[in-house]
């Protein structure tokens, strides 16, 4: 029975967070007070040129533009009261089972909430357009989405003539967490002419077997880990020691938002260093 349950867990791990949708009352007139519940959505608001309307952000937000703003909790634990105390005219949230109850309660108590899934590139494109529309900046939202789409087309074009490179994109070394299939990172890897060796994993952010990683013989290991713990041990292992190692600069590949275009260009340069700029 237990193996059956565990396999169910693995299958369910990539469950759909639900569609983009609006909860609570529709925003009235021009939205001037915005609260975001995840750094990626803060990035979207800033990229839309509406940063001056932000009145609250999550406790994981680090950008200098929002350093002074009040914090309203995290992804799984937003505080309903802290959000309502800011009298938001729009709350931007990424839906998940952990924040569902809190987000629904905010909406019931009168805060308009826009739920924007950010799992895939098309989610990000839809989120940019929807956030732009909600903030009265539909043109800017459309431009952001078009820009990312154009970057994807351009990079795909450049990758087409090149030999695919076997890549392992690492988010953490201890335990080994990598980019699996079904997420925006996997899609961008494919755009950049990389073959994701962890495409057989069960979810977009699987804890991966080290031995499987060795056996998959990556040619390039992209290091997007936030802490170096455990990296050196892995670097010495056969199959990984021979691979080329490169650090992914900045957080462009960690935050599914307007930085993805820049992230994709960096990714292409890392996968095909011979291609030049």
């Amino acid at each position: 029975m237990i193996p059956a349950l565990l396999s169910l867990v693995l299958l369910g791990a990539g469950a759909d967070p639900g569609p983009l949708r609006m909860l609570g009352p529709a925003p009235e007139g021009e939205v001037r007070r915005v609260v975001t519940l995840t750094p990626s959505l803060t990035d979207v608001v800033l990229a839309l040129g509406a940063g001056d309307r932000l009145v609250g952000v999550s406790r994981f937000d680090e950008r200098a533009e929002v350093k002074q703003l009040p914090r309203v909790g995290g992804f799984v634990d937003p505080s309903v009261e802290a959000v309502l105390a800011l009298h938001p005219e729009l709350v931007l949230a990424e839906p998940g089972p952990g924040n569902r109850q809190a987000v629904e309660r905010m909406a019931e108590l009168g805060a308009p909430v826009l739920l924007l899934p950010l799992g895939t590139v098309s989610d990000v494109l839809a989120a940019e357009r929807a956030a732009g529309k909600a903030l009265g900046r539909a043109r800017e939202g459309e431009a952001l989405a078009r820009e990312l789409e154009a970057t994807r087309v351009r990079i795909r074009e450049r990758s087409r003539s090149r030999q695919p490179v076997r890549v392992l994109l690492v988010y953490g070394f201890d335990p080994l967490v990598v980019a699996g299939p079904g997420g925006f990172a996997d899609e961008l890897l494919s755009d950049a002419g990389a073959l994701n060796v962890a495409a057989d994993a069960a979810s977009p952010y699987p804890v991966y077997s080290v031995e499987r990683a060795l056996r998959s013989r990556p040619e390039l290991i992209l290091d997007a880990a936030m802490t170096p713990g455990g990296r050196d041990r892995l670097r010495e292992l056969p199959g990984l020691a021979e691979a080329r190692w490169a650090s992914v600069p900045g957080q462009a590949l960690l935050h599914p938002g307007p930085a993805l275009g820049r992230g994709l260009e960096q990714l292409f340069a890392l996968v095909h260093p011979e291609a030049g700029r």
Partner: protein, 341 residues
């Protein structure tokens, strides 16, 4: 009967009379009401209580009636359940370390909720439903295993072993989870009070009334059971039936509490022990007093999590607050020289 109850008590025990019970329980009820009012006044949103009551439709009123009152009611229900069950189980199992989670209920509930979260089930409050089903299933397993032997230790040991078993499976699931899902599981396991709908609260309230009512009704027989099975039987107590009633009532009560709030530790341990120091071991007083005291304790602990929000930019799970308060308090109780049992 009076002489038996009296012989159970320590020198400081409050001898049970209806008048004294009314006085003690009335006092605790006032304490609970004070805790409730304090909880309504505390939080990130600046609520003016007078305006909120005058205009329930105003923003202040909606925060008060939509957020704080439901949460305080939930805290009171869960606190009452955990503390009263803890008190009854300590007497039934004759073990001062028994708490509300000892019969495998915590393991079953945690396993159920972890599975629901890991599967990404969102519909119909799946983690709560799974937790309740897990807790009841664990209880049934423990009771069935304990049936074969008449000693209360069989149920206790089966419960402890089941909890360890469930913990191992949960660890296994956690290692398979992606980091985002893992955060949700960890948060649930830490125990926190969320915002339940009125009908959920009414359902939970009815369950607790029935379960705690059964416990209170059995409390006089529980006093005699704590003398030992043979002694109780010779005094006319139906030992097996009483034990079954208490085990089922506590397990259902705790399953309901855990389903709504996750695993909130120490309430079932610290509140009965504290009250036993004051009131003595008479369960007729201790069961309802623990219910009221536990409710007040958890309502205040939950208010504390809201006060702590500006410090952490997040409300710490209330289970963390009860553990941080409960651990040192328990050691202090032990070192007062009186045996907390």
């Amino acid at each position: 009967m009076t002489s038996v109850a009296g012989s159970l008590g320590t020198a400081s025990a409050v001898r049970f009379t209806p008048g004294r019970a009314t006085l003690v329980l009335g006092g605790l009820l006032v304490l609970l009401l004070l805790a409730f009012v304090a909880s309504l006044a505390l939080g990130e949103y600046p609520v003016q209580l007078a305006r909120a009551f005058a205009e329930p439709g105003s923003p202040d009123g909606r925060v008060l009636f939509g957020l704080r009152i439901p949460r305080a009611v939930l805290g009171a229900l869960v606190g009452a359940s955990l503390a009263a069950s803890g008190s009854a189980l300590q007497a039934l199992l004759r073990n001062p370390l028994a708490d509300s989670f000892v019969l495998g209920v915590s393991g079953g509930a945690a396993l159920g909720a972890t599975l629901a979260l890991a599967l990404g089930l969102q519909a119909l409050a799946a983690p709560s439903v799974f937790a309740f089903v897990g807790a009841v299933a664990a209880m049934a397993l423990v009771l069935a295993a304990g049936r074969a032997r008449s000693s209360p230790y069989a149920a206790l040991l089966t419960g402890v072993v089941f909890n360890a078993f469930a913990a191992a499976i949960i660890t296994c699931i956690k290692t398979l989870l992606t980091p985002d899902r893992l955060g949700e599981v960890l948060y649930w396991l830490a125990g926190s009070l969320g915002y339940e709908r009125p009908r959920t609260l009414i359902l939970g309230g009815v369950l607790q009334l029935v379960a705690l009512g059964l416990l209170w009704a059995a409390s006089a027989r529980l006093n005699l059971l704590s003398l030992g099975d043979d002694e109780a039987a010779s005094l006319g107590v139906p030992v097996r039936r009483t034990r079954a009633i208490v085990l089922v009532a506590t397990s259902l009560s705790v399953a309901g509490a855990v389903a709504l709030a996750g695993l909130i530790g120490f309430v079932g341990l610290i509140v009965p022990h504290l009250l036993r120091l004051w009131l003595g071991p008479d369960q007729r007083l201790l069961v309802p007093a623990s219910a009221l005291g536990g409710a007040a304790f958890l309502v205040l602990a939950d208010a504390a999590t809201r006060v702590l929000f500006p410090v952490f930019h997040s409300e710490p799970p209330v289970g963390v607050v009860t553990a941080v308060l409960g651990g040192p308090l328990f050691v202090w109780l032990l070192n007062r020289g009186e045996h907390p049992a």
